[in-house]
Amino acid sequence: MLTLEKRPQPSKAFAYLTPVFAIIMTMIFGGLLFMALGKNPFEAILTIFWDPLFGEFASYSRPQLLVKAGPLILIAIGLSLGFKAGIWNIGAEGQYIVGAICGAGAGLAFYPMEAWFIFPIMVIAGALGGWAWAMIPALLKVKFQTNEILVSLMLVYVAEQLLASMSLGLLKNPDGHGFPGSRNLKDYPSAFNGEIIAGTGMHWGVAAAFIAVIFAYVLLNRHMLGFSIRLTGEAPRAAKFSSVNPNRIILFCLGMSGALAGLAGMFEVAGPSGQISIDFNSGYGFTAIIVAFLGRLHPVGIFFAGLLLALTYIGGELAQLTLGLPGAAIQLFQGMLLFFLLAVDLLTNYRIKFSRKEAV
């Protein structure tokens, strides 16, 4: 008979091992899934995890790794602060969109002027846009105790409508022959978020993600505010006893995650994507939730989790192209990763005991 026994304290070893277990189990069950779809499971797994880095087209796909991982890490770092405090911002996708609209809008307002200060203004506008969008659930929660999960999630759909309206109206390219979508910022040097080092995929958004990792690490481990965030998540009553104002934590965490998501959107629209269009957003805000948990809500863990998820994105696309795997199968595969992570996560706090059934 299997029984679960609570450990006297969380196992350090398992905290590091569970992501590895989760990845292995995802490979096994993902392989079975691909087999059921009539594909060679080993080939599929190899295409997803190996080919993007070392395969035939690796020189194209390798820079993509940073391009995709950058926004994921940036958003996930912000989300992890809230998650640590038990504040569930599910609407990073919406904040990402609004950040992109604000950032692109601020840049396009100066078109066609060329000046050094345009890009920094776009960065600030993007962060502020995401922040403001996240402040809606934050203020509603503080004032009326609404559920931030629902409010932030529903605001994603509002943001999508806003995005459509912007690409069809206010931000539509006047020289675009009536096609929806804004001017392409790649053709506007002052606003373009180009690669810092050519051929690596390293743009300013990736740099911002690295800075965010370091910032979050220092905040959580060396600063009273970070301690208060962790305490609020661990024991809300103890946090109040310790003089933490829960409302301030809510405003900070949601605001911070919104600003980082907004930044990610802004860097994306000014760089890899180039323009505001109806289908500009690609689910980074939702995938970042997986990244945050896969990284154990730890900044360094999130860094690696972001790279891993980016890999499955790129590898997944490759598998769709070369093996004809359906896109839904790839999404299922990514979902499995979170599913197995949460499942084996149990082992951090509990140990499994095998015992024979006791005689009655």
């Binding site: 006297p8 304290q9 600063h223 305490l231 024991a235 103890a238 003089s243 009655v360």
Partner: protein, 507 residues
């Protein structure tokens, strides 16, 4: 009265790292009150859980009424006539009395019949209870009556009671004892778990004493002194905390007209509380659980803000200040609930030292944490208060209740407070840890700190407090010197018998 109801023979139960019960044997006779004595962790709970079918023994056997008795689950135990009143009630606040009782029954009768039976049983045994009242509105004593009636409806042969008097006033205890005596007169045996020795001497026919899982002796409580029983329980001679008898100084804490609604739905509001506390004074606040003790602590700690002038620390209004601002001025508190309120269970002791120590110990600099200094502070607490743990990196939840309580009290004491407020400082703590916590409180007062001890343990309050006041439905009585107070007077201060009546012995 002479037949043996339950024979327990060599029961052993081991958990990883600890033998909870080691070949425990004793007998319970029909119609007797049998006391099970022992410190926290002595194995009392494990033993009764085995009798009640919640835990299966590793070895050993039980015989009930001449038949082998090995209940695989509580239902089987209940079918054999074993009923149990738990220390922590398992009642649903939002349901009424009859509904709560029906939930615990195998085949509940229609609600109207059940209500009639509840009325009948409650009158017969002097436990008045309206079956249609919502449990959330009942006092702790009344909730216990619900549990007892739930058991009585099963016509038990053996009634197990786990620390039943911890939530009762002295008068309510007397009434409970009348009820229990009436039950034994009808042939019901009672297994009575407690560590209150005077009660056991007044009530019980036999006592079995457990220490570290072993049966270390039996005695007839009426013929044994409380001190002898205590020493059997602890295994060593008891150190009685000694007060240095400091002279009282100026008023440091002045509470006037403090009223506060309870932050929880079924809590008790504080109503117009007045109190003055002088330097070096230990004020004991007694009262039955749920009469505003938790709210009192929240108001003093600053977790709930009150009128600025309702609380004055050395003349300065502090009612609207946050906990840390009060700590800076010297008002420190230690809540009752250790895990989750006074300490964060999953965080290390070092992090838990930071939880309240930041301001007074200077554990951060412009918001940046000084982990080295924090760890030294945690190590100091561990060393000075003899907290048994491998080190400050261990999680709070890995400590036993007594050790964590020593850590929590030590954390506040070492910050040299002007005023210290503790709620239930020795609840669930073994006797030696309790003695050292009480000694720390007395030493602190001797050094000129004013201390408020909120507790339901009257013996503890009598031992440490200079003055005594009681909370009753959110009102605080006037403080009176502890010396010369009789148990009767204390009981009346705590609200008397709350309208309970003695069992109709003739019924």
């Amino acid at each position: 009265m002479t037949g043996t109801l339950l024979t327990i023979d060599g029961l052993t139960k081991a958990y990883p790292g600890v033998v909870a019960n080691d070949t425990v044997s004793f007998e319970i006779k029909t119609g007797e009150v049998h006391a099970l004595l022992g410190e926290n962790g002595a194995g009392k709970s494990t033993l009764v859980k085995m009798i009640y079918g919640l835990v299966k023994p590793d070895s050993g056997s039980m015989v009930m009424n001449g038949e082998a008795f090995a209940p695989p689950e509580p239902r089987a135990a209940r079918a054999s006539g074993v009923a149990m009143v738990f220390q922590h009630f398992s009642l649903f606040d939002a349901l009424d009395v009859a509904e709560n009782i029906a939930l615990g029954m195998e085949n509940p009768p229609p609600m109207r019949d059940l209500a009639a039976r509840i009325r009948q049983v409650s009158e017969e045994y002097g436990l008045p209870l309206d079956p249609f009242r919502t449990v959330g509105d009942l006092s702790a004593g009344e909730r216990q009556r619900v549990e007892i009636i739930r058991c009585l409806l099963q016509d038990p042969k053996l009634l197990i009671m786990d620390e039943p008097t911890s939530v009762l006033t002295p008068q309510e205890v007397d009434i409970l004892f009348e009820t229990l005596r009436k039950l034994t007169a009808e042939g019901v045996a009672i297994l009575y778990i407690s560590h209150k020795l005077e009660e056991i001497r007044a009530l019980c026919d036999h006592a079995t004493i457990l220490r570290l899982g072993k049966n270390v002796g039996t005695c007839i409580p009426a013929e044994t002194s409380a001190r002898d029983m205590a020493e059997l329980m602890v295994g060593t001679e008891l150190q009685t905390p000694k007060s240095a008898g400091a002279t009282l100084g100026d008023v440091v804490l002045d509470i006037s007209g403090l009223s506060m609604p309870s932050p929880s739905a079924f809590g008790t509001a504080l109503k117009n509380v007045h109190m003055r506390l002088r330097a070096g004074e230990v004020l004991g606040i007694g009262g039955v659980a749920g009469n505003g003790q938790d709210e009192m602590l929240l108001a003093l700690s600053g977790e709930v803000r009150v009128d600025a002038d309702a609380l004055k620390l050395k003349g300065e209004p502090i009612g609207r200040l946050a906990p840390n601002a009060r700590r800076a001025l010297g008002l420190l508190t230690a809540p009752e609930e250790r895990l989750g309120h006074a300490a964060a269970p999953n965080m290390s002791l070092t992090e838990n030292a930071l939880l309240t120590g930041n301001v007074r110990k200077g554990l951060s600099n412009k918001g940046f944490l000084r982990w080295g200094k924090t760890q030294s502070f945690a190590e100091e607490i561990i060393e000075k208060f003899d907290v048994r743990t491998p080190g400050p990196d261990n999680a709070a939840r890995s400590l036993s209740g007594g050790n964590l309580q020593k850590f929590v009290i030590g954390r506040e004491v070492l910050q040299e407070p002007e005023v210290l407020v503790v709620n239930q400082p020795t609840w669930g703590v073994d006797a030696s840890a309790a003695a050292s916590i009480r000694q720390a409180i007395l030493d602190l007062a001797a050094g000129g700190t004013a201390v408020i001890v909120i507790s339901q343990d009257l013996d503890e309050l009598m031992e440490v407090a200079d003055n005594f006041a009681a909370l009753n439905e959110g009102r605080l009585t006037e403080a009176r010197p502890t010396k010369g107070l009789s148990i009767d007077e204390i009981g009346l201060m705590m609200g008397g018998a709350h309208g309970m009546e003695v069992a109709h012995v003739d019924a």
